[in-house]
């Protein structure tokens, strides 16, 4: 019985370097010139008052290039009279996997079409996972997410809540689906701004 002779497997490629590269020094100088050049370029920018880094300096700066579908800060949409479109049905709070939405419902006798409204609507961003399920659960299209992040860095968990006022006063220019500012109660078309 004949067996093939054992051939040791080669697990790596032997380095193929030219003599120039094996002298180390020249390639090291080339590398140092690259990194040193980047340093000088960036340092020159800093010295002349420009920004020499790619870092977005969060939270002082926010980046402008969020994707259009980025799930960021929550907003509450409004009726033409400026009241929240939310009917306090608690479906978002029920579906929320992180259980961060807290809603207190109240009764509004003056509006027979929407007698239930939220007197308190708060989101705890220290636990929110930005999954977007609340937006999908909402039957009234009352809660949406804009692409910008909620600028809420804080040393303290208790300061990472957004309340009804803050959720309803969102940056209107990034949402084109709803006219803004809302029409006034007299029914005249808006665009007073």
């Amino acid at each position: 019985m004949s067996r093939k002779p054992h051939v040791r497997r080669v697990y790596w490629n032997e380095p193929t370097m030219t003599w120039w590269e094996r002298a180390y020094l020249f390639e090291i100088i080339r590398g140092l010139l690259i990194t040193g050049g980047v340093f000088m370029k960036n340092m020159g920018k800093w010295m002349t008052g420009r920004k020499g880094a790619l870092t977005t300096y969060y939270p002082e700066e926010t980046r402008a290039d969020y994707a259009a579908g980025n799930r960021g800060k929550h907003i509450l949409t409004q009726r033409p009279d400026g009241s929240p479109q939310c009917i306090a049905c608690n479906m978002c709070a029920t579906v929320c996997p992180a259980q961060v939405i807290e809603i207190d419902a109240a009764f509004d006798a003056t509006d027979p079409a929407h007698p239930k409204y939220p007197s308190r609507f708060e989101i705890d961003y220290s636990r929110c996972i930005f999954c977007g399920l609340c937006v999908e659960a909402c039957p009234e299209d009352a809660i949406r997410m804009v692409k910008t992040t909620p600028g809420l860095p804080s040393a303290d968990r208790d300061h990472m809540w957004l309340n009804l006022t803050e959720l309803i006063n969102w940056n209107p220019h990034s949402d084109v689906a709803k006219p803004y500012p809302p029409r006034d109660p007299a029914g005249k078309p808006g665009a007073t701004q």
Binding site: G31, L32, I34, V38, N42, G52, A53, L54, T55, Y57
Partner: protein, 382 residues
């Protein structure tokens, strides 16, 4: 003499102040330089608030060094159940102390004449009775040998730390440090030998004084122009001695966690780090002294400038002293920055590559350099 005591107390205070400041500032320089080199901003959140106001001083993150020091001081001083607690406790100091001691023989200025410096105060001026002092803590004929003696001592600390930690990573790091140190100490010594042949002295201030001359009619007579090859090899060997990337095998964090100081925490670990950063400054000071004209500007000596073509520009003694102190600090800072540039540009060697590099590449080159230098010195100085 009480006058000598005063002067040397001032020198020692200055040296300690400079070294500890460099140790702290270099942590900041390292962070910031690395950040700018890689298009980042770098640590800049630590601030000092002026009491009773809301004015927060950030100063480009300079206070992160203080924050680090405080953190290390306040951390739990955890220690392993090592079988040799004494070696374990003493090891950081054995690493740290020789690094400081090396600076004793490095001249940070030329000849100081306190009588001339204090002319405005006749009483103080007369008290010194015309004595002059070299700006160096210990002017020794064997200065360079002292540097190598103390430089070699810090490896004992690394070995002690690795041995007494009773941790296999530490042990591996220590043995790596030991063999690496032996290899590169040899290369370092051989590269400097060529320079000793040229200058004919081991006294570091004499070496600096010889470098204020003129070479070939237009170059300053710096060691780097006499021995460019040795300067490169010396720099590489010195970085290997300091155990920094690309030669940081003893502490290679991806292989050995932290190498020989894996089991150290709090300020003991801080001492290792601090020693490393001070050693950057020491290596820079040594390189400056041997190869870059020491504390002098090009063509400058204690009397003033002597430019090529015999243009003599005399300088006042006070001006010379201030210039020399500042130039030395500036050169050391530049060389430290260069070492940090190297550290953030090059990848780490494999361990067998480190030793092969020392024995098969740098050592033959160093010997060749020494041979050529010896022949040249013999031929040119009949």
């Amino acid at each position: 003499m009480i006058q000598d005591l005063v002067i040397y107390a001032v020198y020692i205070g200055y040296a300690l102040g400079v070294l500890l400041t460099f140790g702290t500032v270099l942590t900041w320089v390292e962070r910031k330089q690395a950040a700018v080199m890689s298009d980042r901003i770098g640590a800049n959140r630590a601030y000092v608030r002026i009491p009773f106001t809301q004015i927060k001083l950030v100063w480009w993150g300079l206070f992160h060094g203080i924050a680090d020091g405080l953190k290390m001081l306040l951390k739990e001083d955890w220690r392993p159940k090592s079988y040799d607690w004494y070696a374990y406790a003493v090891a950081p100091w054995v690493v740290f102390t020789p690094v400081l001691l090396v600076f004793a023989v490095i001249p940070f200025g030329g000849m100081l004449d306190p009588g001339k410096l204090l002319q405005a105060l006749p009483a103080a001026s007369a008290w010194f009775e015309g004595r002059t002092y070299p700006m160096q803590i210990a002017r020794l004929d064997a200065g360079l040998l002292i540097v190598f003696a103390f430089g070699g001592m810090s490896i004992i600390g690394a070995m002690l730390a690795g041995w007494s930690s009773s941790n296999k990573f530490s042990m591996l790091g220590a043995s790596r440090a030991g063999s690496q140190m032996i290899s590169y100490e040899l290369v370092m010594g051989l590269t400097v030998l060529g320079l000793i042949l040229i200058y004919g002295t081991l006294d570091l201030s004499a070496v600096v004084q010889q470098q204020s001359g003129i070479l070939l009619g237009f170059l300053p007579a710096w060691g780097v122009f006499y021995q460019p090859f040795a300067a490169t090899l010396f720099m590489a060997a010195a970085i290997a001695e300091n155990k920094r990337i690309p030669f940081d095998l003893p502490e290679a964090e991806s292989e050995l966690i932290a190498g020989f100081y894996t089991e150290y925490s709090a300020m003991k670990m801080g001492l290792f780090m601090f020693a490393e950063f001070i050693e950057i400054a020491i290596v820079s000071a040594l390189f400056t002294t041997l190869f870059l004209g020491g504390y002098n500007l090009p063509f400058m000596s204690d009397a003033g400038f002597t430019f090529p073509g015999n243009h003599v520009v005399p300088m006042a003694h006070g001006l010379v002293v201030v210039t020399q102190l500042l130039v030395f600090l500036g050169k050391v800072l530049l060389m430290s920055s260069f070492q940090i540039l190297i550290r953030w540009s090059l990848p780490r060697f494999r361990y067998d590559q480190v030793l092969l590099f020392a024995w098969k590449f740098m050592l033959p080159l160093a010997i060749a350099n020494l041979t050529v230098t010896a022949v040249a010195v013999w031929a040119l100085n009949p």
